[in-house]
Symmetry: C2
Subunit: 410 residues, 2 copies
């Protein structure tokens, strides 16, 4: 493998520059296609020539840095927008690693004719819809859906935002068959597996699937003072009972790495003196094994059946999303293992990703791989999310070596 | 007792006229000091001369119909505003009964020199604050509180609404010592006690106290895919567990007629893929016995202590409201019993009120009594709330006889 030497200070300086765009406490607030997100895109566009890449922004807000070299190319990237009032590294870390790898490899004589190309996928976080930009790139997003989409938090229409960004009507970039040997992405782990074992690099084996449900519970809205306990149909209580039943019984049927979450419980009308007549729950679980996913779904259906049999409320299960786990390329995993062994010997771990990433979508059209660095305290989707400078720089070094290893093999 | 004959058709026509103001499905949407509420106030002001009463609207939006006679006077009334998208009888029934009793008694030679005076208390429902108008009348609402109050649903400032209604700066009517022999109020039961026993008139013995709590739960917001189950601090799950623990253990310590309600559970941020970092619960219980109320509070404190001891979240209990149960006058109850026996022999019941009413506040300054009519299905605080026409007319007849009985004794 040809040697590549990244500039750790430049990596940290780039991440710090991005942190200042939409800064919120020690994190950022940079939802997709807001002024702050567009500013971060402009920042990246201005950097790409340093890697001998020609930047363009496509019709969905993806940034692509293209090389004019004729040889093997690896595509690398992540996303620039953030969750609302969230962390500074979720997305930008993978962008800056890709940019740094491209800068050192695309300007290196040892890699003449080969290149790292950089992609920033728009709205991985799902302000409009999860993995929007990468879905567009792999051909899984149609114009009708774009017509319908609006920001789930503030209602901004996607079409209006694309027009305001000046990209409405532009073509949307698509996978070019044969152009890339594959896609690689780096990301903070967002969990505490690496940190709790004092490891530095996660080699992602697969990206779990999320199966997402909405449970609507119909009770009977009534006066909280005059309605006897015996005749109540309290939809809020039914929701609480289901959440507790899930908590008590899922450990017995889930896989060792399964996770499950009730992210929302909302009672209607939600007033102090009114018995809730309706409740809504958002519940999801994740695993990398379809057999386990199906077992969890059957168990959930069983719990809801039991609750309906017992009464007095009526529970209805809606299946919102059932994805397939995404396998990462075995060759890409072994290439990453080699790079990790060089810079952090004995301190890497093969692990599934519990979070969804753009690499899951890219993997449907080309070989893909993912690399994790440790998250302090496992915290993510919160402004206090962080990774030590030392781990950030080490990760950048491993990532560039990984890209180099892949290009050396091509 | 002198005979009084009410006009049942007029009572139904008046209630129907009020139902058309802010009509919503078969109910009404007439929050306090909205255009619809003001229109209903104007409607009442226009009717009061039919009862030989002079109407005025005071500085808090209370309507008072005053008689110029010199003899004994009973004050009767309820409220005109509704809960949001709620029932047509909750409040207006008591207003129209009072109006009808005043029309027939104040124009009857048999009651010359005596009168029923009519009051409409502003915002019993608590859009700004519960029992606002009756608290003002009994001297329990000060100007500082008025400065601070805003509609809890839409943020309208009370001062602005009073100005828009044209009553800002007007004096607020106050109890006049010795003017009234007492206050009487009719209301729909809002529960199913009368209906389930085929009874027609409820004779209220006391109005329960509501003890209202807010429970704030601190967990740790985190990513729903990457955070292992073992290290989570899920504030939503802690809220669900507390709600279920309350449901399972309160029956063992509560009184026979106690009720308890978790009206709101709100998770923050409430997103599908984020473990809730914070949760809020609004919980209340009601009873007419202070000993029982205190036992329930100690039990609630115990449950929260156990949850904190067990972890992993931190629960904090805030005591928002601890009222004293209001006893209704024994003499007023016996007068109502006589009136009920005349028109619905054997079909009345002495019972506490599980709902709070303006009579609770009036009872702190003068003898007070309350009468219930049946609610179909016990439904209330919902647009489908209803009472049969037959029961409405019977109730009006009993109410007028009750007022007549009280005035005959005076």
């Amino acid at each position: 493998m040809a040697h590549v030497e990244i500039d750790g200070r430049r990596v940290l300086a780039d991440l710090t520059a991005l942190r200042r765009i939409g800064e919120y406490k020690t994190g950022v607030h940079r939802p997709a296609l807001t002024a702050e997100h567009l500013q971060s895109i402009e920042w990246l566009v201005a950097r790409l020539p340093e890697a001998k890449l020609t930047a363009s922004i496509d019709g969905i807000g993806n940034v692509l840095g293209r090389s004019n070299c004729a040889g093997a190319k690896v595509l690398a990237g992540s996303h620039l927008e953030s969750q609302r009032h969230a962390g500074w590294l979720d997305g930008p870390l993978g962008i800056v690693y890709a940019l740094e790898a491209a800068r050192v490899i695309n300007t290196s004589a040892a890699f003449a004719g080969k290149a790292v190309e950089v992609a920033s996928w728009c709205d991985e976080e799902g302000h409009f819809t999860s993995l929007m930009g990468s879905r567009s790139y792999v051909g899984q997003l149609d114009e009708d859906e774009i017509d319908r989409l609006a920001d789930i938090a503030d209602g901004r229409r996607l079409r209006d935002c694309l027009a305001a960004a000046g990209v409405a009507g532009r073509p949307r970039a698509q996978v070019e068959e044969g152009r890339h040997i594959g896609f690689i992405e780096a990301h903070i782990e967002q969990g505490d597996v690496l940190e709790s074992s004092d490891l530095k690099i996660g080699i992602v084996t697969s990206i779990v699937a999320v199966w997402q449900y909405r449970i609507v519970i119909e009770g009977m809205q009534n006066h909280a003072g005059t309605t006897r306990m015996a005749v109540r149909k309290d939809a809020g209580l039914a929701a609480a009972r289901l959440a507790v039943a899930i908590d008590e019984t899922f450990p017995g049927i889930a896989g060792a790495r399964s996770v499950w979450t009730t992210g929302r419980i909302a009672l209607d009308p939600g007033a102090p003196s009114i018995i809730p007549g309706q409740a809504e729950m958002l519940f999801q679980f994740r695993d990398s094994d379809v057999v386990v996913l199906e077992r969890m779904e059957r168990h959930l259906e069983g719990l809801i059946g039991e609750a309906n049999a017992k009464g007095p409320c009526r529970l209805k299960l809606e299946k919102l999303r059932k994805a397939t786990p995404a396998e990462m390329s075995g060759d890409f995993q072994s290439a990453l293992q080699i790079a990790a062994e060089r810079h952090a010997p004995g301190r890497s771990l093969r692990m599934p990703s519990g979070a969804i990433h753009d690499a899951a979508r890219l993997s449907t059209r080309m070989p893909a791989g993912m690399m994790f660095v440790p998250s302090i305290g496992g915290i993510s989707h919160h402004w206090s999310e962080n990774t030590s400078d030392e781990d950030i720089v080490l990760g950048a070094r491993v990532f560039a070596s990984w890209a180099a290893e892949l290009l050396s093999r091509a």
